[in-house]
């Protein structure tokens, strides 16, 4: 096995560039307790390596990237840059954003030149640097185009050129390829790795934040896996393959499988056991978990695909992802939601249907609704709380706001809203309760009568 890293021009390989020490980040909320996003994160970035920060939504990886960029001060802990405390953004650290973040009123050339113009680089030097960056990144001929005239891939190339033109030592990329279609993303990844391998990039180190396991294994020398809620560094892996890497390679597949397994390891997450059966909602506050938006139809589709003949109830996650053409960020939440409802189990990078799950697939719609209702009441504490509150109330209606507030005690308002929306979708399918958006209330259909 060879361990290949890229020594760069200025710094000897392995020199520490950036270092996060005991970084904690809280999301401040005025009403309830602060929500923790990052917990005691330690991370070192060396010259000559590409590091992948792999995590799911809720792992605070984008927050960590902003902290490393100096855009966001950590609540506690510190970031060192070449041994000095980082107090704010510096030109030696450049950032590429998921949304490209181009200025629509500047041409490609003006967008790329922004960092040089802002720092008063003389015109002659600026023109040379801009031209170099533009041709390096494959934008030659597009200098005078407006961003809106370009495809997503080309726009992200502008984002890359804009970051590279200031010759940063460290390039931070926040899900740089996830807004692109599959082919474009692959094309851009390959080009970037090629430039890196040929030492044509003016950077010494890159950090790629991603939720795509294959992308991380394809590009990175080191992969940091973050766990969620709050974000922590769970595992650090070295990727021992030389570039260019082959996705079909056995060792490559094994590493991908291994990471799948690591990421599906059961986290000690709150289950219904913590909810000692009471109907009272108030003391339950911190035990609700965030739910990602997973629609009922996708869950059913996944279970049916799993139950069908070649898989027969059990599948390797990467294989399933390919078969269903799902991205990781779709696949994991699906699998986890099924696991939460005890309809499927995740095990060593595999997913298998439980007996209940098989039963569900074989049932008709009415039966499915009953199974789902039962599962929701039993395994989703929030649903249980809402149902029992609705039963208690004489008018069988309750304001959704109070549940949102309770959720916000342990997660950000966005996640709280999203969680509630997911639950509403599920509960509507199971016909447990309905929701009136206008008055923001949960209510029971009048079969209960008044």
């Amino acid at each position: 096995m060879e361990f290949l890293t890229q020594p760069s021009q200025a710094m000897p390989e392995g020199t520490v560039l950036a270092e996060a020490r005991h970084v904690r980040q809280f999301y401040h909320k005025d009403s309830a307790a602060d929500v923790q996003v990052l917990d005691d994160v330690n991370l070192t970035l060396h010259a000559g390596e590409i590091v992948g920060l792999l995590g799911r939504s809720g792992s605070g990886k984008s927050t960590l990237l902003r902290i490393l960029a100096g855009l966001l001060p950590p609540t506690s802990g510190e970031v060192l840059w070449k041994g000095q405390k980082l107090a704010g953004p510096i030109t030696e650290i450049a950032v590429v954003f998921q949304s490209f973040a181009l200025f629509p009123w500047m041409t490609v050339e003006e967008n790329v030149a922004l960092g040089l113009d802002a720092n008063g680089v003389p015109a002659s030097e600026r023109d040379v640097l801009v031209e170099n960056a533009i041709s390096l990144i494959g934008l030659g001929g597009y200098e005078n185009a407006w961003p809106k005239e370009l495809s997503g891939g080309m726009q992200q190339r502008v984002g890359l050129a804009r970051a590279l033109v200031v010759r940063p030592a460290l390039l931070l990329m926040d899900e740089p390829f996830s807004a692109l279609d599959v082919l474009t993303a692959e094309n851009l990844r390959t080009d970037l790795i090629e430039l890196w391998s040929e030492k044509k990039l003016p950077v010494q180190s890159m950090l790629i934040v991603t939720h795509n396991i294959e992308e991380a294994v394809l590009m990175c020398d080191r992969i940091v896996i973050a766990s969620s809620n709050p974000g922590r560094v769970a595992h650090v892996l070295h990727v021992p393959f030389a570039h260019p890497r082959n996705r079909e390679d056995t060792a490559f597949r094994q590493l991908v499988d291994h990471i799948y397994a690591l990421m599906t390891q059961r986290a000690p997450i709150i289950s219904e056991a913590d909810l000692a059966g009471g109907a009272q909602a108030a003391p339950l506050a911190p035990s609700f978990r965030a739910l990602v938006p997973v629609s009922i139809t996708m869950m059913i589709g996944m279970m049916e695909a799993l139950a069908a003949s070649p898989l027969n109830g059990r599948a390797d996650l990467p294989v399933l992802a390919e078969k269903l053409q799902l991205e990781l960020d779709d696949l994991f939440p699906l699998g986890e939601s099924l696991e939460l409802l005890a309809l499927a189990e995740l095990e060593d990078g595999d997913i298998l249907l439980t007996n209940e799950g098989v039963h569900f697939v074989l049932s008709d719609l009415e039966e499915r609704k009953a199974i789902m209702g039962h599962a929701l009441r039993h395994y989703v504490p929030l649903v249980k709380t809402i149902c029992s509150t609705l039963d208690e109330r004489p008018n069988h209606a309750v304001k959704a706001e109070r549940f949102r507030d309770e959720l916000e005690a342990s997660m950000s308002p966005d996640y709280a809203r999203q969680t509630l929306q997911t639950i509403i979708g599920w509960a509507r399918f199971a016909e447990l309760f309905d929701y009136d958006e206008e008055s923001d209330r949960f209510f029971l259909e009048d079969e209960a009568g008044e």
């Binding site: 855009l71 200025f103 009123w105 922004l114 923001d440």
Partner: protein, 381 residues
């Protein structure tokens, strides 16, 4: 909401109107203020302002907030659009009160019955039409329009020739130019004040929301109730009316600028601002290259509305009275206002037509091209 301010403004202005010797007074807050001005009663004016504030507040709470919140359900696309509208208390009251909702249901049922009545032509019955006949009548109609247009042109021309000396038309145009100068300089002044403040407010979501509500409230207030307060000051300190009456015209219209700048600044994507910080884009460079282009489409909407409001207010603000003292600034607004007092219909007509011409020219030659450019080049997404 914004247009309501214009409505209040005109109602307050027109409740007490005198054309020549005919004086028409309608009972209302406008005529009350008119009387107060005649009698130099500053306390009464304060009372009128306070009463108006209460009325606007009530009507904002009872009518506009609920309507606006309810109307969000008709917004197309984007689901919630990321905007979480808090249910206004009065709307909640309406929705929750059983008596009101049963009454509402009854009303709804009745309305539905009416709306299901079969009125009008049944759909699907082809209307008999002969295209050749249509063509002839079309041409006849067009010819008729041309004749009417030419006749009107001739009459207007003759009327103008007989009534106005060329010198007067020229004079009124000069007055219009002075007023235009006033409008533009006041827009500039308001922009210099409110653009930086609006940006500061708009970049912080919490501040933006509060400020927007405040600006909305201010914008709804008929600014001419405040005019006497200024006029008292001008009379007291013996100031030059040509200069000091000018700010009155932007008093109500300035809020359009603030409102839109806040909206523009708060709609800038966070990542664009992060790019700026990351690349050390700061100071004047940041304003020039990032912020001003970013808010320009919004700012222009506000500026066009403010300019319209200022022209409108010119008639009310270029001439002001306090008791027996009359302040007059030079300008088209004062010309029209004075002509109205004298009941000189010819001069009113001339002044109004020239104001229309100027505003139209300004719109076609200045605002329209600017807005088109902004929409084409500067719009995010």
């Amino acid at each position: 909401m914004m247009s309501m301010a214009g409505g209040w403004f005109m109602v307050v202005y027109s409740e007490s109107i005198s054309v020549g010797n005919t004086e028409v007074v309608l009972p209302g807050i406008g005529s009350y203020v008119g009387r107060a001005i005649d009698q130099k009663d500053i306390a009464a004016i304060g009372a009128a302002i306070a009463a108006m504030m209460a009325v606007i507040l009530l009507y904002d709470q009872l009518l506009f907030r609920p309507l606006a919140a309810w109307a969000t359900r008709f917004r197309l696309g984007g689901g919630d659009g990321g905007v979480q509208v808090v249910e206004p208390w009065f709307l909640r009251f309406l929705r929750r009160t059983r008596l009101i909702s049963s009454f509402g249901d009854a009303l709804f049922l009745a309305a539905r019955k009416i709306s299901y009545l079969k009125l009008g032509r049944a759909v699907g019955v082809a209307r008999p039409s002969s295209s050749s006949g249509r063509g002839v009548s079309e041409w006849l109609w067009r010819g008729f329009l041309v004749v009417v247009f030419l006749a009107a042109l001739f009459l207007v021309g003759r009327y103008t020739y007989e009534t106005y000396a060329m010198a007067e038309v020229g004079h009124v145009f000069v007055l219009g130019g002075i007023t235009m100068l006033r409008v533009m300089s006041m827009l500039l002044l308001a922009s210099v004040i409110w653009v930086p403040l609006g940006v500061w407010l708009g970049l912080d979501p919490v501040r933006a929301r509060r400020a927007q509500l405040a600006a909305q409230y201010c914008a709804a207030f008929p600014a001419n109730l405040f005019f006497p307060v200024f006029v008292v000051g001008i009379v007291h300190f013996n100031l030059v009316p040509d200069v000091w009456l000018t700010p009155l015209m932007i008093l109500g219209a300035q809020w359009y600028i603030l409102f839109n700048v806040i909206a523009g600044a708060s709609s800038l994507p966070a990542e664009l601002l992060e790019v700026c910080r990351s690349l050390n884009v700061r100071g004047w460079f940041w304003w020039r290259r990032v912020l001003l282009p970013g808010i320009m489409p919004y700012y222009l909407v506000g500026a066009v509305a403010a300019a319209g409001g200022a022209w409108n207010a010119a008639i009310a603000s270029e001439m002001a009275q306090w008791g027996d003292v009359t302040l007059v600034a030079h300008g088209l607004g004062a010309y029209i206002a004075q002509a109205t007092l004298r009941g000189d219909i010819n001069q009113i007509g001339l002044g109004t037509v020239i104001m229309c011409v100027l505003v139209m020219l300004l719109n076609t030659l200045f605002w329209r091209p600017l807005s088109d450019f902004a929409a084409r080049r500067l719009k995010l997404n």
